[in-house]
């Protein structure tokens, strides 16, 4: 039987501690839309998305009301568009415009999957799609793009790494009058998950069913509040508190996913056990680390604290959900986290420290604004470093950096909404990596890949 304390605790989490479901994401296969004529292909894509996802947003809103839990985003992820471009040929931007039109028709916040998987090399359609990414992101609002350039099994495709450095820079240049937003919608992955509900990196992998519902939970504010009530306990107890809180958060995600899948008549895929911050006060992963006893996120001890947080979130969440997937872990997107923004402004959080942090948490160098004059090869080198961490540690890593075209360290970009804002972070080493990047080829898969 429910008791008053539990009921009021749930309400407090939602009202005061920003507990929410971050996203319900419908994964949708577009493989059956492939056609040798690009216009016919686009028409089929539009029809399939608007048919399958027609009730996604109203159903999400109904669940929000019934259960009293905010669901911040309703999103769609689709089959990597490079696969369709391979069949149809033609200008892939047409697909981006189709996705944009479809996303507006069904009212979702984002649609992901303007993607290519090139970790071992380029197939038909891949290079064309990558070349079109900057224009696609500049000419659409809701479309998100990702490219997987490496994996533990395949190694790192350094030709793709070189291309992506140029692509990130170009995406920022084409949107320089709009806070370089193009680069904020583009993720470069190593070990990209095929069932990730979070943007900008969501796409619907080819091993997935035709249509599926994935859920991403959130709740850094709840974890921080739970720790604040126990200011003097030791770290074993801290880990326990995080586990218990993560369990409760994830159970809610499981409930929402189950109900959404029933109402939509679509199978339930996974819950992504995530701690996803927002720029709102009290919804910060950095503040959890600070609650653990760090003066500011980014100081010595940050990596250890984050490692423990990330692990405890997974341990607490895994029992609460029937299927776990996606990125699962703590996110550290700088511009989307009030505590990270503050630490970046004061100079206590550096890109070098963030790189170390990505070795122990869920994603990678995420939503980091870098000087606009950073060369494409340096961006490629940042991508290569990050991909190497993912490849060797058999984990997902990603790079989403935003070159602030025409701006210098100290200035800020303002994306608005969940993408937040943040200062330009200096790169402390401006020496060239050009020769290394321009060699091309592949970094061979590490010993860790030989598990059979």
């Amino acid at each position: 039987m429910l008791n008053t304390k539990d009921i009021l605790e749930t309400i407090r989490m939602i009202e005061n501690e920003n507990l929410d479901i971050r996203t319900i994401t419908m994964g949708l296969s577009l493989l059956d839309c492939a056609d040798s004529d690009i216009d016919r292909s686009c028409a089929k894509v539009y029809d399939k998305i608007t048919k399958c996802a027609a009730r996604l947003v109203p159903t999400g809103e109904e669940i929000e009301r019934t259960y009293g839990i905010p669901i911040i985003n309703k999103r769609i992820s689709v089959t990597p568009i490079a696969l369709l471009a391979a069949v149809s040929g033609g200008d892939p931007v047409k697909y981006a415009l189709t996705l944009e039109k479809a996303s507006q028709a069904v009212g979702v916040n984002f649609i992901g999957g303007y993607s290519a998987l090139v970790h071992k090399g380029f197939a038909a359609g891949d290079k064309e799609l990558i070349a079109s990414i900057p224009e696609a992101l500049a000419s659409t609002e809701h479309v998100c793009s990702s490219v997987n350039i490496g994996s533990t099994k395949a190694g790192i495709n350094m030709d793709a790494v070189k291309l992506m450095g140029e692509t990130v820079k170009r995406a920022a240049e084409l949107t320089k009058d709009n806070n370089c937003i193009g680069a904020a919608k583009l993720v470069v992955f190593c070990n990209a998950p095929e069932d990730n509900p979070f943007m900008a990196g969501a796409f619907h992998g080819i091993g997935e069913p035709d249509c599926v519902i994935n859920v991403g939970v959130s709740g850094p504010g709840v974890v921080r509040a739970a720790l604040a009530k126990n200011p003097d306990c030791d770290l074993t107890e801290v880990a326990d508190i995080i586990k218990k809180t993560a369990f409760k958060i994830t159970r809610m995600g499981q409930l929402v996913g189950t109900v959404a899948s029933e109402k939509l008549g679509v199978p339930f895929g996974i819950v992504d056990l995530s701690l996803a911050p927002t720029p709102a006060v009290g919804d910060s992963v950095a503040h959890i680390l600070e609650e653990m006893g760090l003066e500011i996120c980014g100081t010595h001890g940050t990596t250890a604290a984050l490692a423990m947080l990330n692990d405890a979130v997974k341990k607490g969440g895994v029992m609460a959900s029937s299927h776990v997937g996606g990125l699962s872990g703590a996110f550290i997107p700088v511009s989307e986290d009030a505590g990270m923004i503050h630490a970046a402004r004061t100079g206590d959080l550096s890109i070098e420290k963030l790189e170390a942090m990505t070795a122990v948490c869920s994603v990678g160098l995420d939503m980091i604004i870098i000087p606009g004059e950073t060369s494409a090869t340096t961006i490629s080198a940042i991508i290569a470093d990050e991909a190497a961490i993912g490849m060797v540690n058999s984990k997902t890593t990603a790079v989403r950096v935003i070159p602030a075209i025409g701006k210098k360290p100290g200035e800020e970009l303002e994306f608005g909404g969940l993408l937040g804002s943040g200062p330009i972070m200096a790169l402390h080493n401006d020496r060239s990596s050009e020769k290394f990047i321009s060699r091309g080829g592949r970094i061979p898969a590490p010993m860790q890949s030989l598990k059979n």
């Binding site: 429910l2 008053t4 309400i11 009202e15 019934t66 259960y67 009293g68 839990i69 809610m252 409930l255």
Partner: protein
């Protein structure tokens, strides 16, 4: 199907009566009520059966939210499953 209604705010006369009246208007059967007053702060948790509502669940919610605004109390109406899933294994 059951829902939980919570009412929190400064204690005044007739809160229980007003909330009950809205439930009755919508044919929501009150199964259990618990309330406490701590330093003038009134907290009430009510379990109601909403299987035979004369209206939509949304209408009951809207009526209670409107009442909450009128009498200056914070009212929540939520399906009981969210609490069950969060607090029971």
């Amino acid at each position: 199907m059951k829902a939980i209604i919570t009412v929190v705010g400064r204690d005044t006369v007739g809160i229980l009566a007003k909330v009950s009246a809205v439930c009755s208007d919508n044919n929501a059967n009150i199964i259990d009520v618990t309330q406490s007053v701590l330093k003038d702060i009134f907290t009430m948790v009510m379990l109601v059966d909403i299987s035979d509502l004369v209206s939509d669940f949304t209408d009951l919610q809207n009526a209670l939210y409107a009442l909450g605004d009128k009498i200056g109390m914070k009212i929540h109406v939520m399906h009981e499953d969210i609490f069950n899933s969060m607090h029971h294994i």
